[in-house]
Symmetry: C2
Subunit: 214 residues, 2 copies
Amino acid sequence: MPPAAKPASTAVTRNPERTRARVLEAARNAFASHGLAGARVDAIAEASGANKRMIYYYFADKEGLFLATLEQIYAELCAASGTLDLEAPPEEALARYIDFVWGYYLEHPEAVTILNSENLHGGRHLKRSDKVRDLERPFVDKLTLLLKRGAEDGVFRAGLDPVTIHITVTAMTYFFLGNNTTLSIFFGQNLASARARRNWRRHIHASLKAIVSA
Amino acid sequence: MPPAAKPASTAVTRNPERTRARVLEAARNAFASHGLAGARVDAIAEASGANKRMIYYYFADKEGLFLATLEQIYAELCAASGTLDLEAPPEEALARYIDFVWGYYLEHPEAVTILNSENLHGGRHLKRSDKVRDLERPFVDKLTLLLKRGAEDGVFRAGLDPVTIHITVTAMTYFFLGNNTTLSIFFGQNLASARARRNWRRHIHASLKAIVSA
DNA sequence: CAAATTTGTAACTAATTAGTTAGTTAATGG
DNA sequence: CCATTAACTAACTAATTAGTTACAAATTTG
């Protein structure tokens, strides 16, 4: 049922890859704005310019489309981390790492809401994805090396767990950005302002420095 | 339209307050499990034992019911923080504060998913809630005093912002618990285990100690 | 080039949904 | 004790929804 990858064609009237890509883009927007249950397949079809039938042809059902969206997000995140350059003194490299995570979620707010949706549904789509299981996670290896290097240089504490550090950086980024609205209302201040964001990013840097310091 | 609070009655056949409470409880479960769009008013009516008409009678519409659920969650969080005792040496008191936040979200996973839903929808329900605006937030005052006390004692850094510290503790708690499923899948380890939770809670304590230390 | 296959369309359907109508029964207050 | 109001019910509706059917055109392949 799922169409195999095909060599580029000069045809304009038919273009399955472009159709797929456009559907995925529209799906991403729709799921990000309304969640899995709130997103409308008809709306995705219209926004992508594809016929609704094609969505079912390519992705089987709404949940299949949601899974494909999730897989694309994870693939993009991992691919982006491939270009991450941590060849610098440990403290400088850690700062770059933080800026990468912060920058990624700042530029991809849809990733936050879609991952939240997947957690709402107990990860039932991701669980059956071998695409995500087989993904390269360059940032984990890079962070592992960085922490080791920092410990050897005596600037980082020894025995730091890379996954723990990654989750810490992501938690501080993701929670601040993803829950910005309710936090702003609850604390009566605009945490979406450039100033508030700048302060928070600075706070992440200072916090992680304190956490990893020897 | 919204019914006023009434003195307790001995009647059993009619009990608007109990009906309201049961609807709210069912709504909380439904919204927590399926989100705003995914929750079904019919299912909430059936689960609460109330007639669907009564839900519209008390809460106007589905969004009104969602707002009432949100308000209840915030009210409970603030009420719970009222009993929080921080009368202890600053480092011990900060540990208690962390355990309060951690314990609260651990015991109320539905608060996490419902707040995520509200953020998905841009906070449009909470924005029009004066109930939440007028809420007492005892934990902010308590934390403010604690940070001041710690600074005076020379154990905490001076000038720490209580809201920043609160968001930091909440970020590390909320993100770990709320995104536990996708994190577990992505990093190939069971972060829901008692051991993983214990380690993470310990990590929050160590991290905050490092962050606030003079 | 012809048969098989892939890509695409338009119109449809069966089920579900939020919200309503029209009325009944219990409590309350004068 | 009766009239008004509050609490409640069952059955309904109009709109929407995920998913399908039946068909057509383009492309590939033997």
